[in-house]
C-alpha cells in the first residue's frame, strides 16, 4: 500500500505540508510527491535506517527524574520540516534585529540604564531580578555582545506566520542536534539533498569559533579558547563534547582552570597556560564560588575577578540572563524602536503581566484560552495550559498566580502549526516549533533554519526532548 495525502488526517491547525483541501502546498509539491511514491513498508525502512544511524553514532541526551538520570537515544523524525528561502530571509533579518536590540538592552541595563529610565518598563522588574548581577555594573563588552550565543523559539500560528515565543540568552542548547540531524538525514536520503536545493548548515562550528574570537579582550591573533562544561552528568554533555571537538578546542571542567592574579590558566602537561576566552555551559550562579553559589564545585574561584579585569572573556557574559525573562520579552518591540529606530520584523505574542490588575483580570476571565508561565524558567517547566485544566485545577492555578503575580505572565494559547510526522506505520500531523541559533560577534549570524522540535503525542504542544518531544531536520529550500 502506498501513502496517499488524500487520506492524511487533517489538522485543525496550520499544516505546513497539506492545505485544508488536502493538496500539497505549492513549494512542497516535489517532496510531497516523493513521499506519495513510497509504500508503508518504505516508510518503516526509512524509520529504522534513521534510528540505526543515530544509534551507531551514539547521539544521545540525558534525562533526569526522581530515580536519577539516564541516557536516551536522540529522537529524530525523518520527515523534514521545510521552509521557503524567501520566507526564511525575513525571519533571519528579524532575528538579527531582535538579538541586536537585546544585546544593546543588556549593556544599557548595566551602564546608563536609558531604556529603564524612559518609562517603558517598571525599572524594578530589572534591578530587583535575581538575574541582575550587581558586579556587572559599569562593564562594557566588545561589540556590545553579552548574549553571544542565543536561541529564540519560533512558532507558526494558524495563518502560517512566524512569531517569537521566547528568547533563550543564557546557555541555550540544541545546536549539535541540529547539525547531527542533518548528518543523519544525508545518510538516509542521499538522493534528496541535491535534488531539492537544501541550504547547507555545516558552517556553524566555524562561525561559532569566529564569534568566540570576536569576544576576546586580548589582541592576540590566536587567543586560547576553551569550552567549560559542568561534566559528564550534565544533560547537554554530548553537545559540549561535540562542539569542542568540532572547533578543536579543549573541553575543560572547573577543576582544569585556575585563577592567579586575576588571570585564568588551564592546567596542561606542559604547565599553566593562559586562557583568553571561555565558552561556558554553566549557569551564572555556579561560575565562581566567590560571587555566586559558594558551594559550587563546577565553577572556578576568582573567574569573575578575572573577567572584571578584562583578562578573560566569558561567553555568554555573566548577567545576560536579565534579558532572558518572559516579562522582559514583552518589551522587545519597544527595545527595537528605542535602540535601532526600526519597526520589529518578527512579531511577539501578546503577553499579559499578571502584576497589572487590569491585565490579570482579563487573563482570569479568559483563563481557558491562556497559557501561564513563570517568568524565569526554561525547558518548559512550570507552564500551565488553561484548556487542559478542570475547575479545581483552575482555582489552584489562580491561587498560585495571586501569591506572586510578578513572577508570572500569560499569553493566549497559540495553535501551533503541524507537519506530517511518522508514527507507527504512517504519517500524522504533529505540532512543531523552531529554535534557530544566533551568534553575535563583529557580525550577527543566524543558523540556516535551526532545530525543529516536534511534540510526538497527538494534540500535544510540549516539544521538549526531556518531556517526550522529538526533532526534525529543517530544510531551507529555494522555491
Amino acid at each position: 500500500m502506498k501513502l496517499s495525502w488524500s487520506k492524511y488526517e487533517l489538522s485543525k491547525s496550520y499544516d505546513e505540508y497539506i492545505t485544508p483541501k488536502r493538496t500539497v502546498r505549492g513549494h512542497l509539491r516535489k517532496i510531497g510527491n516523493f513521499f506519495e511514491s513510497l509504500s508503508f513498508n518504505d516508510l518503516q525502512e526509512l524509520d529504522s535506517a534513521t534510528k540505526s544511524a543515530i544509534k551507531s553514532m551514539g547521539i544521545n541526551f540525558r534525562v533526569y527524574s526522581d530515580e536519577g538520570s539516564e541516557e536516551r537515544t536522540w529522537p529524530l523524525d525523518f520527515i523534514p520540516r521545510i521552509i521557503k528561502k524567501s520566507e526564511w530571509n525575513i525571519v533571519e533579518k528579524g532575528l538579527k534585529q531582535r538579538t541586536k536590540a537585546l544585546n544593546y538592552f543588556i549593556e544599557d541595563c548595566y551602564n546608563e540604564q536609558s531604556f529603564l529610565n524612559s518609562g517603558f518598563i517598571n525599572k524594578s522588574l530589572i534591578t530587583k531580578s535575581k538575574y541582575f548581577l550587581k558586579f556587572c555594573k559599569g562593564t562594557k563588552l566588545p561589540n556590545k555582545s553579552w548574549a553571544h550565543i542565543s536561541g529564540s523559539d519560533l512558532i507558526k500560528d494558524i495563518n502560517g506566520d512566524f512569531h517569537v515565543l521566547e528568547d533563550n540568552l543564557r546557555v541555550p542548547s540544541g545546536v549539535s542536534y541540529m547539525l547531527e540531524n542533518r548528518y543523519v538525514m544525508k545518510r538516509v536520503f542521499p538522493d534528496l539533498f541535491s535534488h531539492y536545493g537544501v541550504s547547507k548548515i555545516d558552517e556553524y562550528p566555524t562561525k561559532l569559533y569566529e564569534c568566540l574570537l570576536d569576544a576576546s579582550f586580548s589582541k592576540l591573533k590566536n587567543p586560547e579558547i576553551v569550552l567549560l562544561t559542568p561534566g559528564i552528568y550534565n544533560s547537554a554533555y554530548y553537545e559540549h563534547s561535540y562542539l569542542a571537538q568540532q572547533m578543536g578546542i579543549d573541553l575543560v571542567e572547573g577543576s582544569d582552570l585556575i585563577v592567579k592574579k586575576n588571570i585564568v590558566y588551564k592546567k596542561t602537561i606542559e604547565g599553566l597556560q593562559k586562557v583568553d576566552v571561555i565558552y561556558r555551559r554553566i549557569d551564572d550562579d555556579y561560575l565562581d564560588p566567590e560571587v555566586g553559589n559558594p558551594f559550587s564545585v563546577i565553577g572556578v574561584k576568582g573567574l569573575i575577578r578575572a573577567w572584571k579585569s578584562k583578562n578573560v572573556s566569558i561567553v555568554n557574559a555573566p548577567g545576560c540572563g536579565i534579558a532572558d525573562d518572559k516579562a522582559v520579552y514583552s518589551f522587545v518591540p519597544e527595545m527595537i524602536n528605542f535602540y535601532l529606530k526600526e519597526e520589529p520584523i518578527l512579531p511577539n505574542i501578546k503577553t499579559f503581566m499578571l502584576s497589572n490588575k487590569e491585565e490579570r483580570d482579563y487573563v482570569f476571565e479568559n483563563i481557558k484560552q491562556m497559557v501561564t508561565k513563570p517568568v524565569a524558567e526554561s525547558g518548559g517547566y512550570g507552564i500551565s495550559i488553561g484548556k487542559n485544566l478542570n475547575e479545581k485545577e483552575i482555582l489552584k492555578l489562580k491561587k498560585l498566580l495571586m501569591k506572586d503575580p510578578k513572577n508570572y505572565v500569560a499569553q493566549p494559547l497559540i495553535d501551533l502549526s503541524t507537519s506530517p510526522t511518522f508514527r507507527r506505520d504512517s504519517l500524522f500531523p504533529r505540532h512543531l516549533d523552531l529554535r534557530p541559533f544566533i551568534l553575535s560577534g563583529k557580525q550577527t549570524y543566524v543558523t540556516v533554519g535551526g532545530l525543529t522540535r516536534v511534540a510526538l503525542k497527538r494534540g500535544s504542544t510540549v516539544v521538549n526532548s526531556s518531556q517526550g518531544g522529538g526533532s526534525k531536520d529543517t530544510w531551507i529550500v529555494d522555491a
Binding site: 561534566g231 559528564i232 563534547s241 571537538q245 579543549d250 573541553l251 575543560v252 571542567e253 577543576s255 582544569d256 588551564k266 592546567k267 596542561t268 602537561i269 606542559e270 604547565g271
Partner: protein, 303 residues
C-alpha cells in the same frame, strides 16, 4: 594537552594492564593445579602475596582456597586490585576521554566490561572457568591492539603507553618476587622446572625464552630472562626502556629521564644469575620503590 586528560589516559592504561596481569596470574594458577591435582603445596596464597593484600584477605576469609581467592580477586569491593574494581576504575577514567580514543578501542573495552562485570566468577561453571579467564587477557590485548593500530602518535598515545609499562614493570617484579621468595623459602630453593615454566607462561614468555636459551628452564636462566632480556616486551628491562622512550616524547622530561636512566643502569649492571633469594628480593623491592618514585614524579610533573 590538559593535565586531567593525561591523568585519565595514564590511569586507564594502568588499570587495564593490571586487570590483564591479575587474570594472567589466576590463569596460570588454575592450569598448574590441573597438572598437580593432589599437591597441596600449590595453594592459592601466592596470588594474594604477590599483590601484598594478605591483611585485607584474612579480615574476610580464613582459608586461601580457590573459591575464596577467586571471589576476592574478581569481585571484592574492598580489594582495590580486584578485577571488578580495576574495570570500574578504568570505566571512570575513560568517561571524559572517550572521544580522544579510537572507536574500536572503546568497543573492545565495552566487551570486556560486559564479560566481567556482568557475571560473578562463582557462577561460572568449573569447566568454563579457564576459558573465562583466558578471554579477559585476549580482550585487554584487543584494547591495546586497537590503540596501537588506530591512535595517532602523540601525547595521548604516550600517556597510555607510559601507564601501561609502569604498571607492567611493577606487576612483573611482583610476580617474580612472590614466586621466588615466598615459595622458595618454604621449599628451600628447590623449584621444579614445571614451576619455572609456569612463571614464564604467566607472562606469555615461554616461546621467547625457549628461543633465547635452548637449555632447561632453571632459576638463573628464567630470572635473568624476565628481568634483563632486552627484546621480549614483557621483561622488566624492555619495559623500562619503553618507559624511557615514552618520556623522551614528553615535555619537561629532564628529571624523569635521569631517574629512569638510573634504574636502567642498575638493572644492566646487576649480576642476577647468581643472586640468592635475599639479594633478589632486595633487588626487586628496590625496583618497585624506584618505579613508584617515577610514578609520583609523573604525577607532580604532568598532572
Amino acid at each position: 594537552m590538559l593535565s586531567r586528560s593525561a591523568k585519565h589516559l595514564y590511569w586507564l592504561a594502568r588499570y587495564v594492564e593490571r586487570a590483564e596481569n591479575i587474570a594472567r596470574m589466576i590463569d596460570v594458577n588454575l592450569e598448574l593445579i590441573l597438572d598437580f591435582p593432589d599437591d597441596h603445596s600449590l595453594n592459592w596464597k601466592p596470588l594474594i602475596d604477590t599483590l601484598d593484600i594478605n591483611d585485607l584477605f584474612e579480615s574476610k576469609y580464613k582459608k586461601y582456597n580457590e573459591n575464596n581467592v577467586l571471589n576476592f580477586l574478581f569481585e571484592d569491593k574492598k580489594n582495590l586490585s580486584s578485577l571488578n574494581n580495576c574495570l570500574e576504575m578504568s570505566k571512570y577514567n575513560i568517561e571524559t576521554i572517550k572521544d580522544d580514543l579510537p572507536k574500536t578501542a572503546n568497543i573492545s573495552l565495552n566487551h570486556l566490561y560486559d564479560h566481567i562485570l556482568g557475571q560473578k566468577i562463582s557462577k561460572v561453571h568449573q569447566r568454563k572457568k579457564l576459558q573465562h579467564i583466558t578471554n579477559i587477557v585476549s580482550m585487554t590485548q584487543n584494547f591495546f591492539g586497537a590503540i596501537n593500530d588506530n591512535l595517532s602518535r602523540g601525547y595521548e598515545f604516550e600517556f597510555i603507553r607510559l601507564g601501561r609499562f609502569v604498571e607492567r614493570t611493577d606487576m612483573i617484579s611482583r610476580i617474580i618476587d612472590c614466586l621466588c621468595i615466598s615459595k622458595g623459602s618454604k621449599q628451600t630453593h628447590d623449584f621444579s622446572t614445571m614451576e619455572w615454566i609456569s612463571m614464564l607462561s604467566t607472562l606469555s614468555a615461554q616461546d621467547a625464552f625457549r628461543k633465547e636459551s635452548k637449555g632447561e628452564a632453571n632459576r638463573g636462566e628464567v630470572i635473568t630472562f624476565l628481568l634483563k632480556n632486552d627484546s621480549f616486551p614483557r621483561s622488566v628491562f624492555r619495559s623500562l626502556i619503553t618507559i624511557e622512550a615514552c618520556l623522551e616524547n614528553l615535555p619537561k622530561n629532564t628529571r624523569l629521564l635521569q631517574m629512569i636512566n638510573r634504574i636502567i643502569n642498575i638493572s644492566e649492571r646487576s649480576k642476577l644469575y647468581n643472586f640468592d633469594d635475599r639479594r633478589l628480593h632486595l633487588f626487586l623491592d628496590n625496583l618497585q620503590k624506584n618505579v613508584s618514585k617515577i610514578d609520583s614524579k609523573i604525577h607532580t610533573t604532568y598532572f
